[in-house]
């Protein structure tokens, strides 16, 4: 909770100007009025050059990611929520309990302060929801035209409070692939929100923190082999990386893949394969065959995992490949995507 402060700073400007990035009084006012007010916590409050925190025992996970998305707000979320959940998820799928985040903002001159405030507020509420503290932050202002409104970079620190080692080297033939819910919601929601496609549809981004889903799976112990949040590049890219790193094959069943009808229809019209579209609140895991049912039960016990399904299995070969048994009874390769046919969405 924000500390009650004696002096309340107000930002009177309506838009970000270069002065807000000059390091003087305007910068300080902006930081205090917007960021400190929203994120207020013991680590951040002193506004020192570094936040000083005490780590609980365990291995430590550290991650960072930059968020560039247009439009800044889209059905189901905004860039602020995305920046918190994305970094929380990167920590969570590494098996860590997320503890601290830092946030760096690159603001474009002319950005309405109200828009910034809304984004910062949604970041704060996303962080509050997960129970992570934004311990340090930074803002820079660039000239008009040099950024799409604003970019956010978040870094995260978490701690692993167990001894389970996750990774492609722990994956074996026969292991099962489970997915926590529907595919492609975020990417399609953002594509439609951009308005370039003259497509309409009530499709919401799935942005959400998966730390509780990850924690539920960690309870499986050694039976849990590998976890990822399939963001940019979608499920296909995450599984291709697994196949390449493990030297094994992943075989998916097309008829098991959960996709919202509206999302499937939009993908069909746009000629995009939902397997390659970004998700921002999903978890894909490889588990030992004997705990697959238990893994699904654990995921389904959480509202974010209600639609969890087993989507495929690990096979010894062909080495490094992802295959898909099509609903029609054929099969095909699910290759790494070449190029970038999609507009920037995450």
């Amino acid at each position: 909770m924000p500390e009650p402060r004696t002096r309340r700073v107000l930002v009177r400007d309506k838009r970000i100007t270069l002065t807000h990035g000059a390091g003087g009084k305007a910068t300080r006012d902006l930081v205090e009025a917007l960021f400190l007010d929203a994120f207020g916590n013991d680590a951040l409050a002193p506004l020192g050059d570094s936040a000083v925190v005490s780590l609980p025992p365990g291995r430590v996970a550290v991650t960072t990611d930059s968020y560039v998305v247009r439009p800044l707000a889209f059905p189901g979320g905004d860039i602020g929520e995305l920046a918190v959940n994305g970094t929380v998820n990167d920590l969570a799928v590494a098996g860590a309990r997320p503890l601290w985040l830092t946030a760096g903002f690159v603001l474009e001159e002319g950005l309405p302060i109200d828009e910034l405030r809304a984004i910062v507020t949604s970041m704060a509420s996303a962080a509050g929801h997960v129970g992570v503290a934004v311990a340090a932050g930074d803002t820079k202002v660039v000239e008009r035209g040099k950024a799409d409104g604003l970019y956010v970079t978040t870094a995260g620190v978490g701690v692993l409070e167990h001894d389970v080692v996750l990774g492609p080297e722990r994956v074996h033939p026969g292991d099962r692939v489970v997915l926590s819910g529907t595919l492609a919601d975020h990417g399609v929601a953002v594509l439609i929100a951009r308005g370039d496609l003259r497509l309409e549809g009530d499709i919401q981004s799935d942005t959400a923190p998966v730390h509780e889903l990850a924690a539920a799976l960690l309870g499986l112990g050694e039976g849990l082999r590998w976890m990822r949040d399939p963001t940019r590049g979608g499920l296909a890219t995450a599984l291709n990386e697994l196949a390449a790193q493990s030297g094994l094959a992943v075989r998916l069943r097309e008829d098991a893949l959960p996709i919202e009808p509206a999302v499937a229809a939009a993908c069909e019209i746009l000629g995009i394969d939902p397997l390659y579209v970004a998700n921002e609140g999903k978890l894909v895991a490889v588990v030992a065959p004997d705990v697959a049912a238990e893994a699904l039960a654990r995921l389904r016990a959480h509202p974010l995992g209600a639609e969890a399904v087993e989507i495929g299995a690990v096979e010894p070969e062909p080495e490094g490949m992802v295959l898909l048994d099509t609903a029609l009874g054929g099969s095909r390769i699910v290759d790494l995507l070449v190029g970038d046919p999609l507009p920037r969405i995450c």
């Binding site: 499937a264 099509t326 029609l328 054929g330 095909r332 070449v338 046919p341």
Partner: protein, 375 residues
């Protein structure tokens, strides 16, 4: 989603596959060319080849619009894009097509203003929104996409826009089909006719294939069930001793096509004397250019274009792939010097290109086919 599910029903697919198997003579291979890149893509995406008996061999045809654009035209587009004050707008697939001096994507990295659009109308909108820039639409495609370009031109004229032009590379479907049909040692027994093109030009447009060349045609829609049905229809023609144009895509395609779309094309465009096709060489009257009244929108008249003819790389066998003479993997550079990431030939660029579709979706099946199971 109902609409699509109906055309992807696994039980129906299995029964069609069984029907197809009952329509072939064991050991007698029928080579069916799907003309359209959209069909090629669907075949691989759904793994359809695995549902077919070894006696049905699919040959991938020339109907991928990106694949047939010669390198010289890509260089011309780059020259337009690199002109001061000009924005070049085009479909995403065109960006990676290699010309003689790199791709549009590389030109973009050097500072050219290249933008991806989903339709020529988006390019027109760009011109309206940015009156200080000249926006040129790099138009490609068969009769499928030509009507949208035509309508855009008519609209540009109505709006009296002076900062918009079209670099017209629209091509016609009949000339490459004739070129294939006249290839010595033709290895195609029957054709699956394109769906979208046919919705514009009509199924009657293919009558020359049975009448002059003695090969049956079934115009097909794009869903897997449609394709299986079309293959069954072709096989049944053979059994019945018929050889004609049939229409499987009756829900969209009329025998006479779409008169309004054809009228819009005819009003704005006319056939060129000839046009160079990637891999097929120069084909007479095989492409469209803007008519005189639209000269003010014609990038070929507004810009000084290099207009060079650039030989395809020696190792590139796209022409033979496009005419069904070889399978993608029979090209010596397939998957080595030519991959979707670094395409040497155009068939490797678009996901509708035979080589790219094969590389991305199907390359696992190669050993099976090489072992003679599929041929």
């Amino acid at each position: 989603m109902k609409y699509v599910d109906e055309y992807r029903d696994p039980a129906l697919a299995r029964s069609l596959a069984a029907e197809i198997a009952s329509l072939v003579t064991p050991g007698e291979v029928v080579r069916v060319m799907e003309v359209c890149g959209g069909h090629t893509h669907a075949i691989y995406r759904h793994g359809l080849e695995e549902l077919l008996p070894p006696e049905v061999e699919l040959v991938h045809g020339p109907g991928c619009p990106v694949c047939v654009i010669p390198m010289g035209r890509v260089d011309d587009a780059i020259a337009i894009a690199e002109t001061e004050g000009v924005t070049l707008a085009t479909f995403g697939d065109m960006l990676r097509v290699p010309g003689g001096s790199g791709s549009l994507l590389q030109a973009q990295a050097r500072g050219a203003d290249v933008r991806m659009v989903y339709s020529p109308l988006d390019a027109l909108e760009l011109a309206r929104r940015e009156p200080d820039r000249h926006v040129c639409f790099f138009a490609i495609g068969f009769e499928t996409t030509a009507p949208a370009t035509a309508i855009t031109l008519l609209r540009a004229r109505a709006q009296e826009l002076s900062n918009f032009s079209v670099f017209c590379n629209h091509v016609l479907i009949e000339p490459p089909l004739r070129a294939i049909l006249e290839t010595p040692g033709l290895r195609v027994d029957a054709f699956i006719g394109p769906g979208h093109v046919s919705s514009v030009i009509g199924s009657d447009a293919y009558r020359f294939i049975p009448e002059e060349y003695g090969r049956p045609v079934v115009v097909s829609a794009f869903e897997p069930i449609d394709l299986l049905q079309s293959i069954a229809m072709l096989l049944r023609q053979r059994i019945d001793g018929r050889c004609e144009v049939e229409n499987q895509y009756t829900r969209v395609v009329r025998p006479e096509g779409n008169p309004r779309a054809l009228a819009a094309i005819a009003e704005t465009m006319e056939p060129r004397e000839d046009f160079e096709w990637r891999g097929l060489g120069v084909l007479p009257a095989s492409a469209l250019r803007l008519r005189e009244p639209f000269a003010a929108f014609d990038a070929e008249r507004l810009f000084a274009l290099p207009g060079a003819r650039i030989e395809d790389p020696k190792a590139c066998r796209c022409g033979e792939v496009l005419t069904g003479q070889i399978k993608p993997w029979e090209c010596g550079v397939f998957g080595t010097a030519c991959t979707p990431e670094r395409p040497l030939g155009t068939c490797m660029v678009s996901s509708e290109g035979a080589c790219a579709a094969y590389f991305s979706y199907g390359r696992l099946r190669r050993p099976r086919e090489e072992a003679g199971v599929g041929a």
